[in-house]
Symmetry: D2
Subunit: 341 residues, 4 copies
């Protein structure tokens, strides 16, 4: 059975695993104070062209979003996100569990349009009653978004400008960042993100690691006592090395981007095959997720041979499904999928 | 200067104040264990035709909503509300401050339409991924709504049916309940609410009391240790008598409804005058709030002589404003306002 | 039946009640923006000799403690209190409900000894592992304490010095402050407290008001958006006037202290009578609470004629009970109690 | 440089790592729904002699304690722990961060004595005022404790009896459980723990895994929607396989206990050597931690050649230090340490 069900089906990229094997019996300090965490942080800072950057490692995306929100927002503030944002929909209330409201604005295929954000913020402060409302305290975007779409550099610049005009930080969730950085047509690289966002995380779980996300404060202005606050959220691994070693490997010799390209190449093969065969691409997205609208009968046929993600019902006879590729997707499997289409 | 700015501008209704005066030097037990709290609870239960009802008193509406939510919802649940609901917009994140998400559905002039609720709940459980989402755990409605509109009995029956089909309680915020109960054309009385809602509160602050809301569990199924949970939210007054005595007065000889009628009578005078003079009523509502769309020049003229609530900008030249009446609004003031229009 | 069971058995002091009556039909803005709140704040600031002081009103003590803690502490900090402190024992977890730990130090008859605090803070920072511990973020003391004892000015100076050396605020819970200010032998007046504490509250509920506590930031350095944070905790009354008017009355013509003296005078009569009759005073305290150790038979006899508070079992045959007096305690009742002893 | 600083200095036990290597490219479902999680759960249930047991995997100990507390305690309840308990001292307030108080009882070398617990619970319910206090809702013990000590079976039976008499669950933190199970003289095995505790976790991070703890509900009575609640705490790994595979390896062919013995053997060598040489063992404990009181000069000499944990200052001239061993400690290193002593 072929599987295109998600981008976290395998373990670690072999090169990452090898580093875990090679270092396994080294005795290292705990709680992220080991030399691999330092080295990984340094390499990430370099990749961001931000020597002053501070980097923290956590195990998963929801944990990261929750911890960052709880460290950054003031008690009277909420997190501005697209209505479709992961923090709003698929984190089981993790943001509210740390006492903060998700303030939603209408998303455009997963993205927050700069003009939408601007209107929202202007409207908030124009409302004379806003002292009894939740203040916008940080803006959350994902890149790629939950729909695989990407911001342009100009859009990020505009969002960044708006945030800074209102003196609130811009936070980017990069759970699938690698796939965004190497997508065809993107003009956004890691140093752009570091220059335009106040906080962001580089996803490891979906891009070559067993687990792990690297939170970056590109300006080196992380709140004080971060490690205590990470501990308090249950997010500080005793063996922080597990995260440091993996990110050290991922940011050695550009491995992070190199392995990401496979996901794009295979996704592009799938998208082209779908277009050639006249399938209806549901949402045009340049990264590793492909959304397609299928006749239900066809979907059921496919489901006998390949695992994919049910996305949503389209109408009585049609369904939107998703094929996800990753660093681990083989050309053979991709061709086999195409043959089935 | 006339004031129609809100419905909590004065102190207590004179009859309520008189009871506070009469009982002032009585020595009574603390924390709601006094005989006036008991008597008020009994009278409210009678007014609801629910002898088994349990009643708790708290000082204000946001506190009440927050405390009830924290007592009723399970950790994995959120509160379903109209996007315009007070809990979603104007409580400064009090629901999130007790760890719960407000799950919004599109409101219809402040109300949740039964079909909207039904679709939302059906859609939630149809989503295969809902295990990582916030589960709907209680439905919040206000009656009158924030826009002064009212549910019909049939609508409440439908909402109640839907909630019970999904085994979640229906909670009614009655901050202005008195004004709803005596509004022209309503077919919803207190015993209907008690029969159809699982929890509701009867607003005192806006209907004759100095402060205070009475939470009713009509089936007598309040969670255990309610008083500890109320204390834990800072919502248990040492001199619980302050609330008990006021509600005892309000529910003696039907005072609660009797004083509510004045708000309706004066609001009706205003609405009729507006219609006669060709003003554009912004939202038709049968209770004590009147929303009207004014030319900005007219609005500025009016503002020299009367205080009202700015509601929202309509267009460059027009604004929506609100006139609120209450038990305390005098016929003289109402006539003076009408003369100004 | 005589009652000495607590100091919140009656309603408001008649002069306070009269002000509520006199102002009842005045139309005033909501949420503490009325002129009585302003006037009360100004009078309190004067009484503290701190013209720059900021004053906020809340309805009760637990609510006040909870709200202040949630506004002041950073996420990695806890509240240092005596093990017997009200916040640690009798607030149903209200501090933890806003996410903060109560860090206890051993109390000395309700008080924190300066050397105890100093050792605790020194020890905390001496522990190399403290990055994974809860940092002391504010010191909580009560004055009078839960045992009716008082700090001397020197002790307050020492506590204040220690706190400032560690750069954490000193917070004083003055639920019964009036009774402390006029106690025999005290050298601590309101302006001492204002000079030495960073935040404190002046208790109204137990000293003449129907409800209400006045939080004072004597340096005028309240956190930004306090009113939003108060609202978010459900602690912002729509009719803020209820608190403003009462405190305005209490701080007019020194009423607050004048009415407090009655509690001391009557408590002193009781203490003297007990001593004369050879009763064993359990804890020597100069304020309105009197703790006495009684033979159980005697206790049961007394209980037929007078209500008092059971404090704790002493041994199989003896019990500690508490007589509380207040502004409302009459000389007649006091004499009647003494006759029974 | 030798290191005896803690028991989480190395990566995974080689056999555990091998399983990660062998399974690395298998495509598996996410979020703990893979076959290794199922298999590990089944093997753990067997090892506990509890076929009905339910098992959940989380990444670290603080996260596990926090999540379990937030799933089990009711809003009015706190967690009873020894004053020295990890949850009280070294988790940066993670329990309070999920809104619950740690109710401390005096510990006896890390343990809660059954009579201490009994008195505490009896005293709590004897206090007439307990409705405004935090109710004891679960008892937390660690085994081995933070001091390396162990409960006897009789003590666990007594604690279990007391808990069940008061209808609250007994929860055991087994961060170092392996080292306890194979300690000399213990009469407590895994099936005793499963029979006597309501919830417990089997520590992986300190006993052979890269990360991971296995929470066991031996009666199969885990709360509903556990996976949503785990997600909401940021504790649900997308690649749940990382935990499942490791625990599957640890519970295959008794690996968990087999590798634990090395820690005991090496610790025993150290303890014997210390005794022979006349060192003062600070606290007698049969597991992998050895606490010894050293002359500061001696300590400084040692510190040049071996890393150990500073525990606490004993007096001006002496210090308590800790040597920790683990599954990874070599006989050579142990002998080298002994030579230095």
């Amino acid at each position: 059975m072929l599987s295109f069900v998600n981008d976290y089906s395998e373990g670690a990229h072999p090169a990452v695993l090898q580093r875990l094997i090679d270092t396994n019996m080294e005795q290292l300090p705990g709680y992220g104070r080991d030399r691999y965490c330092s080295s990984a942080a340094r390499k990430i800072a370099e990749a961001c062209s931000c020597p002053q950057a501070q980097v923290f490692f956590m195990a998963g995306g929801t944990q990261t979003n929750q911890t960052i929100v709880s460290c950054i927002l003031k008690p009277w503030q909420g997190l501005v996100a697209a209505d479709t944002g992961h923090v709003n929909v698929h984190e089981a209330g993790a943001i509210e569990a740390v006492d903060h409201k998700v303030l939603t604005v209408e998303g455009d295929r997963g993205k927050i349009r700069p003009d939408t954000l601007d209107s929202y913020l202007e409207g908030f402060y124009a409302d004379g009653n806003h002292e009894q409302m939740v203040f916008p305290g940080m803006v959350y975007i994902s890149h790629p978004t939950e729909y695989g779409t990407l911001y342009t550099r100009q859009e990020l610049e505009q969002l960044s400008d708006i945030c800074h005009r209102y003196e609130i930080p811009l936070y980017l969730d990069g759970a699938r960042l690698g796939y965004g950085l190497v997508a065809p047509g993107t003009d956004v690289d890691l140093d752009d993100i570091a220059a335009l966002c106040d906080i962001f995380y580089i996803g490891g779980t979906k891009v070559g690691a067993l687990c792990g996300e690297a939170v970056v404060f590109p300006k080196g202005d992380a709140p004080e006592h971060m490690s205590t606050m990470i501990k308090r959220r249950g997010a500080l691994l005793a063996k922080g090395r597990l995260l440091g070693i993996q990110f050290d490997a991922l940011f050695t010799d550009d491995l992070y981007k190199r392995i990401s390209r496979n996901a794009i190449d295979t996704a592009t093969m799938i998208k082209e095959a779908l277009r050639e065969r006249g399938y209806q691409i549901y949402m045009d997205s340049p990264t590793n997720q492909t959304f397609v609208r299928l006749d239900n009968r066809k979907m059921e046929e496919l489901a006998e041979h390949v695992a994919f993600d049910f996305w949503e019902r389209s109408d009585a006879d049609h369904t939107i499904i998703r094929f996800a590729t990753s660093w681990a997707t083989s050309i053979e499997d991709t061709k086999a999928l195409i043959d089935l289409l």
